[in-house]
Symmetry: C2
Subunit: 453 residues, 2 copies
């Protein structure tokens, strides 16, 4: 990237827009929640859509890569700067307008997911997707990566709630898909969801809100074999039961969590399932307990009170921190498979763990066939990284063989782009590239992401 | 279109594929359910995806327009042949594979919508979208036009159920979006839904199936003023009530239906609402009746028995036939507006009816803000068509002013392409064209549709 004179851009920004080139205090902007990082040439903190347009036009003119960024909680390197790129932060675009009668909220991309949920709850509604990082993550990032969440088994993912977008393209045009009704012709909004900033910069997001379903009963079931837990997931699905939450953890993940803070009755569990029942289905508790018993659960704890249920949730809530504390190097993947293949995937990870000298464990939103697989190493050497990369590829090949996907909810970003050809065949990838070229002919929009080099 | 020697294509088709150039017996293939028509050069009845590919490649080589066709029940001219075009019928691609455990059906585009519903019901599930023509329409046509249906207030439209597609592009490539899990990168499938055959020919469709909700109670409410009915729709929405069906008919539509076959108590109604309650919400019947009464309904009939409820449904079921019988020329539009603007739209149509010498009436899936407006003329002259075109444009301008859409569920096709710039601004339309060019650089894929000339 050549040296760039940013003064013209600085003067084009609005009063509250900021452009930073002295980056010493902005280390956080060199990375997301993965181990990848890059050094930007500058950071723009946009204060409105005009700042976004000015920035895009400047980058377009100077052929400068532009990397949009929300809260930086992403798990695939989607907002990791290309070397010398301009990082465009949309954190300050955080307005929320709620239309209770339409059950619609129109948000800036910088809105924190939890603030949207809180705003919706204040008018008796809720926003359903709840990515694990929802207290920090931005809605713009959720849309760019099509984030999922704990409740996705019942409520679906971000895509299912976005009803319209405004976005600024590489040549400074504003796309406006409308949002009050289903729209005809080509759904540009659906195309932008999950596109990780490679097509346009999202400046406004309309989402549908739903009636809150209330809290259900929490059920924790432990199993002596991971396959018993996986079979339980499938049996529940076959019985037509859709709990609000259905989380899976394997034995190694439980051990990690127990080492951090023990939970009674779990010291020898080989797997667990954690449910929250749908409160509108008054017989669900009994039915779930029955199916867990039929599949040889070794422990069953039920807690109708949401506050006391935190005791049961702790094993899951501590998990991510527990795993990260445990290793010098942690590589996290989030594959997903059809629910009928979930048991096969769980068995495969269990076998990988046993036959590898790295610690490999799995947990995830089982109701969606979603499995977060963590590869842990006591040392962080280039050899370790290479070995784990190779294990990751083995996992991905198996996942695709099981009709699954490389990423259930984290996106491709930098982390998985080399593997994308496993999931899509050459013609399908070629048409994705055609679309990329149609939106971004000079390749400035978050380059290096999604597509293999 | 130059004369084409079809022999090479004929010999490239599989044993059961057919190519017809003697079109005397194929008048039906010159039009859909609108008044538009065109004369094709040939019709190919594909028997599998290879026939589709051979046909596309032949058309690509000879720069011949290709117009895909399902059952021809469309209401926007989407499958009306361009002059001399090759019509590609996918009617014979009618295989259905149901995976009950995944709650997925994989269908050929020629599957009749009802056959899919029947197949799903045979394994205890259902397919939710039910366009009015579902006993004849094909799933491929439903996807191409993103069809809605009576139950869309509760269940959404076709887009909400399509989870993956295979499609053949202008250069003969097969796109495969996968379907068992949410997918990363660019959602080509979402782009193809509603694209009316202008990007690629769909050869396989995966849809999600749902648990059937069972039948609820039917409620018919009549009103002395259309505005009372429209306000009732909004009040129900505000109360968080989501019936399975919520249909609206204005006084003129009721008169048409009554003239065809009278329904007791409706001879002087200025509007009616027809509901089916959600059977899982046991208090919904009482709540709907209360809100109808609060809004001055003049008649309230409730029928819990689904068979006897047919008496109440008749007024709605007869309507389309009744209206068509009544006029030499009928132009039907299907606008939709945000639910809070529904009363404004109803009032506007009522006023148009009173101030025009054409008969103009309205009915529709009110829960979605969807309104079917029919313009009727006793004569079918070019002057009448021009006059009605101008009234349609007036309606469309008002609809867009109310944040609505030109088409709630019928698509743009030929019928509304001149109006598309009312709905999308120039940059957004320009990016749709970029995408069209990326998929179809030579412009052979259902040309003349969607985009204004």
């Amino acid at each position: 990237v050549p040296a760039v004179d940013y003064d013209k851009l600085r003067s084009a920004l609005s009063e509250n827009g900021r452009l930073i080139t002295d980056l010493a205090d902005y280390e956080a902007y060199t990375h997301d929640a993965t181990a990848d990082s890059g050094t930007p040439g500058a950071i723009v903190f946009a204060s409105n859509a005009n700042d976004v347009r000015a920035t895009v036009l400047f980058c377009h003119k100077h052929n400068l890569p532009i990397v949009p960024r929300g809260a930086g909680t992403g798990l695939s390197g989607g907002c990791v700067p290309s070397e010398g790129a301009l990082v465009l932060s949309t954190e300050a675009l955080d307005e929320i307008e709620i239309m209770p009668e339409e059950k619609i909220a129109v948000c800036g991309p910088g809105v924190i997911t939890r603030d949207l949920i809180d705003g919706a709850e204040a008018v008796g509604l809720t926003y359903a997707p709840d990515p694990a990082s929802y207290t920090e993550s931005t809605l713009g990032g959720n849309v760019a990566e099509n984030a999922g969440g704990l409740r996705c088994v019942k409520y679906g993912v971000t895509r299912d709630y976005v009803i319209g977008l405004q976005a600024i393209t590489a040549d400074g045009c504003t796309l406006d898909t409308g949002w009050f009704t289903e729209r005809p012709a080509f759904e540009l909004g659906e195309l932008l969801i999950g596109s990780e900033g490679t097509l346009a910069i999202i400046t406004s997001i309309a989402v549908s809100l739903v009636e809150p379903s209330g809290r259900g009963t929490t059920i924790l079931a432990a199993f002596g074999e991971p396959s018993d837990a996986a079979r339980t997931v499938f049996a529940l699905r076959r019985a037509g039961l859709v709990p609000t939450v259905m989380e899976f953890m394997d034995g190694d993940a439980i051990d990690c969590s127990n080492a951090y803070e023990p939970t009674e009755g779990l010291h020898k569990a080989a797997a667990l399932l954690l449910f929250e029942t749908d409160p509108h289905h008054h017989d669900m508790e009994r039915l779930i307990e029955g199916i867990c018993s039929d599949n040889h659960c070794t422990l069953l704890r039920t807690e109708p009170d949401p506050n006391r249920a935190e005791d049961l949730w702790r094993v899951r809530r501590n998990l991510s921190k527990a795993i990260t504390d445990m290793a010098a190097l942690r590589v996290s993947e989030d594959v997903a498979v059809p629910i009928s293949r979930f048991a096969d995937l769980v068995a495969f990870v269990d076998q990988m763990n046993h036959s590898s000298h790295y610690r490999i464990n799995a947990f995830g939103h089982a109701g969606d066939g979603n499995l977060h697989v963590s590869f842990l190493s006591e040392h962080d050497t280039s050899r370790d990284r290479e070995n784990i990369d190779s294990l990751v590829e083995t996992l991905m090949r198996k996942t695709i063989e099981l009709d699954g996907t490389l990423t259930g909810e984290h996106g491709i970003g930098l982390a998985k782009r080399r593997l994308l050809p496993l999931e899509f065949d050459p013609p399908t990838l070629q048409f994705m590239r055609h679309i990329k070229d149609a939106f971004d002919p000079t390749g400035i929009m978050n380059p290096d992401k999604i597509f293999p080099v």
